[in-house]
């Protein structure tokens, strides 16, 4: 981050609201901005995909099957003569949806569990965290497979399975932070000022653990998308013919030997770019959200 920053509102630039300062600081971080831009493009692709794609997802052109990238088919065509570009574009939809919903559920559940366990301590902590340990001890994919197998495979089950898998991660991150924040003198100080437990947890503990939670959430999004791709690859996630990166990757397997690299490379690249974008954004957010780190960045901008 050796960027020679341009002007920045001074230390007392209090006219601009907080979130805009945060955004402008984030924009100064090139890697994080790159990640953010990629994600915005992805979200747009996911939202407007159906009206952007040159071909329908399952529109077949058997005559030109397994064609390499060309002007007509930018990413080539697959074994059924479907346009790979259209499928990759619409695959973003499934990946993002599954990622966001799954992480959303696990974030809420994990944060609630972590706050309760960490703040209350004692038997509640023991019970909740041992429960989380049980979930955590299963290999991620295996647990997800088990959940999908027990329930009936659908997009919702997939999201639920990934959410269950990620809940203990969030719960642990939150509980760990809460344990240290809880002992801080400033928590004692607001208690001495007459704040109730609920108020302390919501207004004083939660904001102090928010930074690691947000960072963890953006990293989890990356992993959730990977997990979704893996499950789809294994055939228990998104079912073909629906467009999904993992499933397409799996379908491409038989044709790699015959040289149809584009069928595998483009969905794979999509996964890679998405995961990386989330990771970069997560790193950038971590720097900007920490007030101490933040003033370092701010002062760097001033001098």
């Amino acid at each position: 981050m050796s960027t020679a920053d341009t002007t920045l509102e001074g230390p007392s630039g209090d006219a601009t609201p907080r979130w805009r300062q945060t955004l402008s600081l984030l924009a100064k971080n090139r890697l994080a901005s790159a990640g953010a831009v990629v994600l915005i493009v992805l979200v747009l692709a996911a939202v407007f995909g159906p009206s952007l794609v040159p071909y329908g997802v399952n529109e077949q052109d058997i005559a030109s099957r397994l064609n390499g990238p060309s002007g007509a088919h930018w990413f080539g065509t697959d074994d059924l003569g479907r346009d790979v570009f259209s499928r990759v574009l619409l695959g973003a939809r499934v990946s993002l949806q599954v990622g966001v919903i799954a992480v959303g559920i696990s974030l809420v559940a994990g944060t609630a569990i972590g706050l309760a366990a960490g703040y209350r301590g004692g038997w509640l902590d023991a019970v909740l965290m041992r429960l989380m340990d049980v979930l955590f001890s299963f290999p991620v994919i295996l647990l997800a497979i088990a959940i999908v197998a027990v329930l009936e495979p659908s997009l919702f089950t997939l999201q639920l399975a990934i959410a269950v898998v990620f809940t203990p991660i969030h719960a642990r991150v939150v509980r760990g932070s809460v344990l240290s924040v809880r002992e801080d003198v400033h928590i004692q100080a607001v208690r001495a000022l007459g704040a109730s437990d609920l108020r302390i947890v919501a207004k004083h503990v939660l904001p102090n653990v928010a930074a690691p939670v947000i960072v963890q959430a953006s990293l989890s999004l990356a992993f959730a998308i990977l997990t979704e791709a893996a499950l789809s690859y294994l055939g228990i996630g998104v079912q073909p013919p629906r467009a999904a990166w993992g499933a397409d990757l799996q379908a491409s397997q038989g044709f790699l030997a015959s040289g149809s690299w584009w069928m595998a490379v483009f969905p794979g690249l999509a996964i890679l770019v998405t995961v990386m974008a989330f990771n970069l954004l997560g790193d950038g957010l971590r720097d900007v959200l920490d007030p101490k780190q933040r003033s370092v960045i701010e002062s760097r901008g001033v001098t």
């Binding site: 209090d14 801080d184 003198v185 400033h186 001495a192 000022l193 007459g194 003033s295």
Partner: protein, 366 residues
């Protein structure tokens, strides 16, 4: 349960209206090595505008006893007995309210509102993720139901009162943008925000450098004159105490061993521990190169208190056979001067020499 005779005499500096009276305060904690008796039968009265200093070594129970007043201790391992009656306008219809008899829920209405706290380390007693404006207004909005506007206005006033330059602009700054001394001023402003009857300053200057210490003690003194609250000043630094306290209570092993108004305590200490404590103070310009006087040994742990007087194993005098077997009562030896000992340190005791030298020679300092 000590039924200590409590002759509470109003003291100069106070206007005689009692705001807090603590009786038989006992705090103990369940530990693996048995019950730890941290505070054993504490009695004190606090009047409007008065500063009571509680001095003692680490672990003497001075902090715990004040935290116990509003039950700011983990209660399952801890246990608090006794009473802490808060009297003031509209409190319990003139009868006052026993804080220790209140439920946790009701107590939250008293913490901060009637009893304010200032903690030791200003570096950690502010929440790093909230602006100081938000932290300052929180108590006022909660207790006094002020609107955001009014609370902010009052916050600016408070910051000006505690001497923070450019108060209005600094409201939106974060704690890390303040120096240690400035932060402690903010913490004091928070403690004062709801205009409490009692302000408890728990080692409030210990983490600060000497110059800042002086500024903070002076500040609290002048605020006290202005606002008329009672201050409990907890410290282990007798130098700080000498400058601000009206009355001093010396604590040892969870009990008060001597209590008197500040002048009397410094000029005429009667308990061997107080005498030893004062004798150990260095005298500026004298005795250079000599060892400082010290009290041999360590305070007893709260789980294995000695029988009899808690101080007797370290006491060089032990002038009464009961010292080792019987817990001495708190005796009144002069107006408002109470000593927990069977005897008084004789006038010709060698330890009294440095104390006398301090009082006569070291006038004006501290």
């Amino acid at each position: 349960m000590s039924a200590a005779p409590t002759g509470s005499t109003p003291v100069p500096g106070a206007d005689g209206t009692r705001v807090l009276s603590v009786r038989d305060l006992e705090v103990s904690f369940a530990t693996k090595r048995g019950r730890a008796h941290v505070v054993r039968g504490l009695d004190f009265d606090l009047h409007r505008g008065e500063t009571l200093a509680i001095v003692g070594e680490s672990g003497s129970g001075k902090s715990v006893s004040t935290l116990a007043l509003t039950k700011l201790l983990p209660i399952p391992p801890g246990r608090i007995d006794g009473s802490a009656r808060l009297t003031g306008e509209g409190l319990g219809g003139g009868e006052g309210v026993d804080l220790l008899a209140l439920s946790e829920r009701d107590l939250t209405g008293y913490r901060g509102r009637h009893v304010g706290y200032v903690f030791q380390d200003p570096m950690t007693s502010l929440n790093p993720v909230h602006t100081i404006g938000r932290q300052l207004t929180e108590g006022m909005r909660h207790h006094l139901s002020l609107s955001e506007r009014d609370a902010r206005d009052r916050a600016v006033e408070l910051l000006e009162q505690v001497g923070i330059p450019g108060a209005a602009e600094r409201l939106d700054d974060y704690p890390h943008q303040f120096s240690g001394g400035m932060r402690q001023r903010v913490v004091i402003a928070i403690g004062l925000s709801c205009d409490p009857e009692v302000l408890i300053a728990d080692e409030a200057t210990t983490a600060l450098d000497v110059t800042t210490q002086a500024q903070i003690t002076e500040l609290v003194g002048s605020l006290q004159e202005e606002l008329g609250m009672a201050v409990v000043w907890i410290t282990h630094d007798l130098g700080v105490v000498a400058g601000i306290a009206d009355r001093i209570a010396v604590m040892y092993a969870g009990e008060v061993v001597e209590e008197a108004d500040a002048d009397t305590l410094f000029a005429d200490p009667r308990h061997p521990y107080t005498v030893g404590l004062l004798a150990s103070l260095p005298i500026v310009g004298e005795g250079a190169g000599q060892h400082l006087a010290s009290i041999a040994g360590l305070p007893p742990g709260p789980t294995d208190l000695p029988p009899g007087c808690a101080f007797h194993p370290r006491c060089g005098l032990r002038l009464d056979p009961r010292c080792e077997t019987e817990r001495p009562p708190l005796r009144e030896v002069g107006p408002g001067h109470r000593v927990r000992s069977f005897y008084e340190v004789p006038d010709d005791d060698p330890h009294r020499e440095p104390v006398r030298a301090r009082v006569t020679g070291g006038e004006g300092e501290a």
